[in-house]
């Protein structure tokens, strides 16, 4: 007890002493470091492409203009002007829809495979063989089964999110410390009650990791998913713009996917930190 008390005391003293440079520099430093590399890349990109009209890669400023045109219009006034929100919304709904479906299927399935030997023996080998098949390879089959259009896209996003959630859920519910089952049963919690009071909370960090990876993959496969002939979506305009050699639109789409993928991951992390405050590696 004394150690905890004295620790917090030391912290308070250190904070009072700190002033001026010492307070803002530690916060600014990581931001500067994080910005340094993209800034350098941007500079290289700029000087490598500027003043070359024949270049297939447009300079950053043109991409910036295109991005603004996509979002607000008023610059090019072409078919793409002011359409970003439509494509963004379409992609977001596919990403989150496919991800939600993956969650609904993979969580219970993973728990069953992890905890019920019969189901594990029945399904695990098949899953292990199907898992290495990349989402891209499913594309033709998806289009045959689900047809051209959003349903195929949805399926491919689902598939991308499915395996990380499933695999981590199985791992989580299988790797509960045996000691915790002993502790629960000697305290009067036995049988199926242990599933909700021991297995599930113990598996939560793994399940969370799988969920985070799954959502990440859903963003990663969105472009492939929207190669299925859908009209809207960030992936769709990227593929379309490629055929029209509108590289600035391709890059704009990439930037938007990156930004929203990042934001969505931050959101998940925020939820995770609240939910897993007890875990030394998450809290």
């Amino acid at each position: 007890m004394t150690t905890l008390a004295s620790d917090s005391g030391d912290g308070a003293v250190a904070e009072r002493k700190a002033s001026g440079v010492a307070t803002w520099w530690p916060r600014l430093r990581p931001l500067l470091l994080a910005a340094a590399f993209p800034a350098a890349m941007l500079a290289i990109w700029h000087f490598a492409t500027i003043g070359r009209p024949g270049s297939l890669i447009p300079p950053p400023y043109e991409v910036w203009l295109e991005l603004r045109d996509l979002a607000f219009g008023g610059i090019n006034d072409d078919a793409y002007s002011k359409t970003l929100h439509i494509h963004l919304l379409a992609s977001i709904s596919r990403v989150y829809g496919g991800f939600a479906l993956a969650l609904i299927v993979a969580l219970p399935l993973g728990m069953l495979i992890g905890r019920v030997p019969l189901i594990r023996q029945l399904l695990d080998p098949t899953i292990q063989i199907l898992r290495p098949v990349p989402v891209t390879a499913w594309l033709p089959l998806a289009m045959i089964i689900f047809g051209l259009g959003p349903r195929s896209a949805f399926f491919l996003v689902f598939l991308g999110a499915f395996y990380p959630i499933l695999v981590n859920t199985i791992f989580g519910v299988r790797s509960v410390e045996p000691r915790l089952f002993e502790a629960a049963s000697m305290l009067g919690c036995s049988g199926s009650a242990q599933f909700f009071r021991v297995v599930l909370p113990a598996a939560l960090p793994s399940i969370f990791t799988g969920t985070r990876l799954g959502l990440g993959f859903a963003w990663v496969v969105i472009v492939v998913g929207e190669m299925t002939g859908v009209q809207t979506g960030l992936g769709a305009i990227i593929m379309e713009a490629r055929q029209l050699s509108r590289t600035e639109i391709v890059i704009s789409g990439m930037i938007v996917i990156g930004a929203f993928g990042f934001l969505s991951d931050q959101l998940v992390m925020l939820i995770g930190r609240r939910l897993l405050a007890w875990s030394p590696s998450h809290g």
Partner: protein, 259 residues
């Protein structure tokens, strides 16, 4: 009361043979032991002599492969709230704070919120963790974790507390303080304690009776009633005498192996 006649815990010629990859490992042979209610028994002996096995059989985690293990004369068929175990590695639920760890047993038994609250408050106070009720196990020191583990078992109205080297991982100062507190709690509550230790001193300090075990296969060798008055003074000549006696008892087995 009939309690005087029937021991709270009895082992009759109990043995345990584990089978591991088709190989049989005899961990314990012919163990007979009677523990009276409110008795403090220490098990001591070289590594691998079956102390943990004996304790786990009493807890109901392992079934005896020979003989009987009885509580109040009835066979023990599995783990249950009447026998609480305190593990060396604590075995706390990392996702529950101190209060909820202690309340786990009462909650399992369907107590109301108010009852659980009352019980947890009482036992948090008993082990002196009032200021840490909302803290998660990974933020606690080893000594505090072990206090929680003890409170968790007591909050569940355990009659027998089984402790497997509970203080083995703690530093000497924390260890001594917890020994004092354990004796204090034990003498106030009338608990029955079976306590495994590697430390002769700890055994003499705590126990009404010390059970000496030896390996190959694990068995009970001898029992000694420690008749020293409490609180015990580890520097007294009587204490030292016990220390010498038990130490020669334990080392005679090593001597046989070495020489």
């Amino acid at each position: 009361m009939a309690e005087g006649a029937i021991p709270i815990l009895e082992m009759k010629n109990a043995g345990k043979t584990y089978s591991q990859n088709g190989r049989a490992i005899e961990a314990l042979r012919g163990a007979s032991l009677r523990v009276k209610k409110s008795e403090f028994v220490c098990l001591i002996g070289a590594s691998g002599c079956g102390k943990s096995t004996l304790l786990r059989m009493a807890a109901g985690f392992e079934a005896a492969t020979q003989g009987d293990v009885l509580m109040w004369g009835m066979p023990i068929t599995g783990p249950g709230p009447s026998r609480g175990m305190v593990f060396q590695d604590y075995g706390l639920f990392p996702w529950l704070n101190v209060r909820d760890n202690i309340g786990f047993g009462p909650k399992s038994r369907g107590r109301t919120r108010a009852e659980i609250r009352e019980t947890t408050d009482r036992f948090i106070e008993l082990v002196g963790l009032q200021n840490f009720a909302d803290i998660y196990p990974h933020q606690l020191s080893g000594g505090m974790k072990q206090r929680v583990a003890i409170a968790r078992v007591l909050a569940n109205d355990a009659e027998i507390v089984l402790m497997d080297e509970p203080f083995g991982a703690l530093d000497a100062m924390t260890r001594e303080r917890l020994q004092d507190e354990l004796v204090e709690i034990w003498s106030r509550t009338g608990l029955t304690v079976i306590f495994v230790t590697h430390s002769i001193e700890e055994a003499i300090f705590l126990a009404d009776r010390v059970v000496v075990m030896s390996p190959g296969p694990g068995r009970i060798d001898n029992e000694y009633s420690i008749d020293l008055p409490r609180p015990r003074d580890i520097a007294s000549p009587e204490f030292n005498e016990w220390r010498r006696l038990l130490s020669s008892q334990l080392h005679s087995h090593h001597g046989r192996k070495a020489g």
